[in-house]
């Protein structure tokens, strides 16, 4: 059938579409059913979220319920709490600016131009420092704001960035230790990696937040936020170390042997030959790990931090807005989704770009 229309692109397209959507009776039924289902879902959401929704910033429960649709008034009334948590109201422009800094840092590190060790490290360390100064204050005439008052999106982003900045060097160290020729060092590092990987992240966060104070002398006991970030970084490092190890395994032995034959030292071989290639091979998995880490920041709600999720919970649990929880969750879901979906699409794009040379056909 296809061959008869082979020379006419439009007819060919039509016949292919027909074969795809109505190739057989079950397929046709499935098409009709799924299209009907998608249309119904789409219409329901459109009707609820736009057509019958109440957008007025002053509307209260009665008006919202009467309209029968989404009550976006809750966002209009509470968006500051959701986004910035308990951060002092007059200083919230600093929170917003700090978020912008992080977004710029993430954006810059997505550009291939920044893919040298020096530039990436500089961007992330500078970005983190700028973020910290903006949020913490106490210098340049900014009023000091304690970490306990941080909340909402900036806290989520801070935990993500700090975990990554701290975790990446740890991951590299663990991965190098694991492939070390010294048996004791590689065994210990292997044991550490495997133990951390077999534990749930929640239990690690819990240990660092609540149990660690018992185990450390008081002098080493930082604020809870930094202990939790350290725990998250350890968890990140254990997974990322295995990803880097996967990268190591993809490098032909000849590379390192040639470097040795040229008389390069261990650090030269590692820094110039092995690590860059390992990272290139491990790039898709690394980005996936960043995506997972971003989503896992929301777990700190369990040890009592008011990040985006906890702030959202607080925003509708005040009695007055209790009925509008779907709207609040929809709002933060859009925020999470845009970060995560954007990053993972970018990862997929990179993967296809890197495979362009090896693609068959």
């Amino acid at each position: 059938m296809t061959s008869r229309f082979a020379l006419n692109p439009r007819r060919r397209l039509l016949s292919r579409l027909r074969a795809d959507y109505f190739g057989s009776l079950p397929s046709g039924v499935m098409t009709l059913l799924s299209v009907a289902f998608l249309l119904w879902i789409g219409w329901t959401i459109l009707d609820w979220a736009v057509l019958r929704a109440s957008f007025s910033a002053t509307a209260r429960q009665a008006e919202c319920v009467a309209s029968g649709g989404a009550c976006w008034s809750v966002i209009a009334a509470r968006w500051r709490v959701i986004l910035f948590g308990l951060y002092p109201y007059e200083e919230q422009w600093r929170s917003a600016l700090a978020c912008l800094v992080v977004i710029i840092v993430i954006f810059l590190s997505c550009l291939p131009k920044f893919w040298t060790f020096g530039r990436l490290a500089a961007t992330w360390v500078l970005g983190t420092a700028l973020f910290y100064i903006l949020m913490r204050g106490g210098v340049f005439g900014l009023a000091p704001v304690n970490e306990q008052q941080w909340g909402g999106l900036p806290l989520t982003l801070f935990i993500f960035v700090a975990t990554s900045v701290l975790g990446m060097p740890m991951a590299i160290a663990l991965a190098l230790m694991r492939r070390s020729d010294l048996p004791v060092i590689s065994r210990v590092s292997g044991l550490l990696i495997d133990t951390v990987r077999s534990l749930p992240l929640l239990s690690i966060l819990f240990t660092f937040a609540i149990v660690l104070p018992f185990m450390l002398p008081d002098a080493l006991n930082g604020p809870k936020l930094y202990r939790v970030i350290f725990g998250g970084a350890l968890f990140f490092a254990a997974y990322q170390a295995e990803i880097i190890r996967g990268g190591f395994q993809g490098i032909p032995n000849g590379q390192e042997e040639a470097a040795k034959a040229l008389g390069l030292t261990y650090w030269q071989r590692t820094g110039r030959i092995v690590l860059p290639q390992a990272f290139r091979l491990a790039l898709p998995a690394t980005i996936n790990q960043f995506v997972i880490t971003f989503m896992e920041t929301s777990l700190v709600v369990v040890v009592g931090f008011v990040e985006l999720l906890a702030a959202a919970n607080a925003a509708f649990q005040t009695g007055e807005w209790k009925f509008a929880y779907v709207e609040v969750y929809a709002f933060i879901s859009v925020i999470y989704f845009s970060f995560v979906f954007g990053l993972s699409r970018y990862g997929a794009y990179l993967e296809s770009r890197m495979n362009a040379g090896q693609r068959k056909e």
């Binding site: 959507y21 289902f37 210990v188 077999s198 239990s203 018992f214 450390l216 777990l299 709600v301």
Partner: protein
């Protein structure tokens, strides 16, 4: 040789380096233990595992077997472990079934079906799992109170939980019956994959498997029958009564919101694994099967499915271990899994180090046994020898 002992010798340098490393690590650990003991002693606590036999004085809000505040800690830990495994089994089974459906949708030829699968996966995979959990939990708690519970076919939906019609038996009886049923199914799988039964022909082996399942189910039915309360009707239906609900079997919001989260979230990941597995089945295999005149169902069930299963099992094992760990999220909504029992115990007893040790041991045990069972399964069905062309 004098050179052998000098700093320039690589052997000496390596030995010294490792000795220093071990010494530093040892010092760190010893310091940690000393500090902990000092801190605990300052609070009047002694280390050791004697507390395991003390009674807990608090209650778990979800148990499979009867428990009360006078029960000792070790019993609570066992119950917590059971809850984790229970949730894990339900979550893994549900996520696998739903994930298989989603994965098949993603590999369908029909683009509109494919689109539905894609939307599902992108939606559930790109939102943090704890956000989903809080959402479902809030939904569960926003159901009407028991007085105005929604009735649907003998079910009662209320903010106190979902009430389903249940047999009038005690909880211990149900647990025993489920145990027998699970044992039967496990024996069936053992016969399917163990080397001992390899020598048998397909027909007697299948008969043996059916017998195993049948005996297990019969034992379960017998236990249930013997456990029935003779004075009451054998099926108890939930009835709203004042502020509460009488009769029926209550599924707590904590439990089912966590189960729904793990199933839907896990299914999104498993769906992608399933799709990858089917993509790994060579076109040649399918075409050859079709050329032999197999029906579409036979091509699927006898050729594509087994080959895809072989390709996806190693990744699936990791995903299962990961999902089991995700049951610890229960602490966020108050489902008493192993981790929550540990956390509550630490709060009440102060025996921090011991409980953290037990926590690690428990999860190492779960993960190790799960992955070793699945790895045996993987070895049993993996391609033998070094042939790689088949599934690639």
């Amino acid at each position: 040789m004098a050179g052998a002992l000098s700093w320039k010798s690589r052997t000496v340098r390596n030995a010294v380096l490792q000795a220093v490393f071990v010494a530093a690590l040892g010092t760190l650990i010893v310091l940690g233990i000393v500090t902990t003991r000092a801190n605990l002693a300052a609070q009047g606590l002694t280390s050791g595992f004697d507390f395991l036999w003390k009674s807990t004085s608090w209650e778990m809000n979800f148990t499979l077997l009867p428990a009360g505040p006078t029960d000792p800690y070790w019993w609570y830990l066992v119950l917590g472990l059971m809850n984790t495994l229970f949730m894990g089994v339900i979550g893994l089974a549900g996520a696998t079934v739903l994930g298989l459906a989603v994965g098949l949708m993603r590999t369908a030829r029909n683009p509109s079906v494919r689109l539905m699968g894609t939307i599902y996966i992108e939606l559930f995979r790109n939102l943090p799992v704890i956000v989903q959990l809080f959402f479902w939990y809030t939904v569960a708690n926003s159901l009407p109170p028991p007085r105005q519970a929604i009735e649907a076919g003998g079910f009662l939906l209320s903010s106190r939980g979902i009430y389903v019609p249940g047999l009038a038996v005690s909880r211990g009886t149900t647990a025993l019956a489920v145990l027998f049923g699970v044992l039967g199914v496990a024996a069936c799988f053992w016969i399917l994959f163990s080397r001992r039964f390899r020598a048998l022909d397909a027909a007697p082996r299948r008969r043996l498997m059916l017998t195993a399942v049948g005996v297990g189910m019969a034992a379960a039915a017998l236990v249930l029958f013997l456990g029935l309360d003779p004075t009451a009707p054998w099926l108890s239906l939930p009835q709203p009564q004042g502020l509460k609900v009488q009769g029926g079997f209550r599924i707590q919001p904590e439990f089912y919101s966590l189960a729904v989260t793990i199933i839907t979230y896990g299914a999104a990941y498993i769906g992608e694994i399933v799709r990858g597995g089917f993509k790994a089945v060579g076109r040649g295999q399918t075409e050859a099967a079709r050329a032999l005149g197999l029906s579409p169902w036979q091509v699927f069930s006898r050729v594509r499915m087994p080959l895809a299963f072989r390709a996806m099992l190693p990744i699936l094992i990791n995903q299962y271990v990961w999902l089991i760990k995700a049951t610890t999220l229960g602490i966020a909504v108050g489902f008493s899994d192993f981790f929550m029992v540990i956390a509550t115990s630490i709060n009440h007893s102060g025996q921090t180090i011991e409980f953290i040790g037990l926590l690690m041991a428990g999860f190492l045990l779960i993960n190790f046994s799960l992955s070793s069972v699945l790895n045996r399964l993987n070895r049993a069905i993996a391609l033998k020898g070094r042939q790689t062309g088949g599934a690639a």
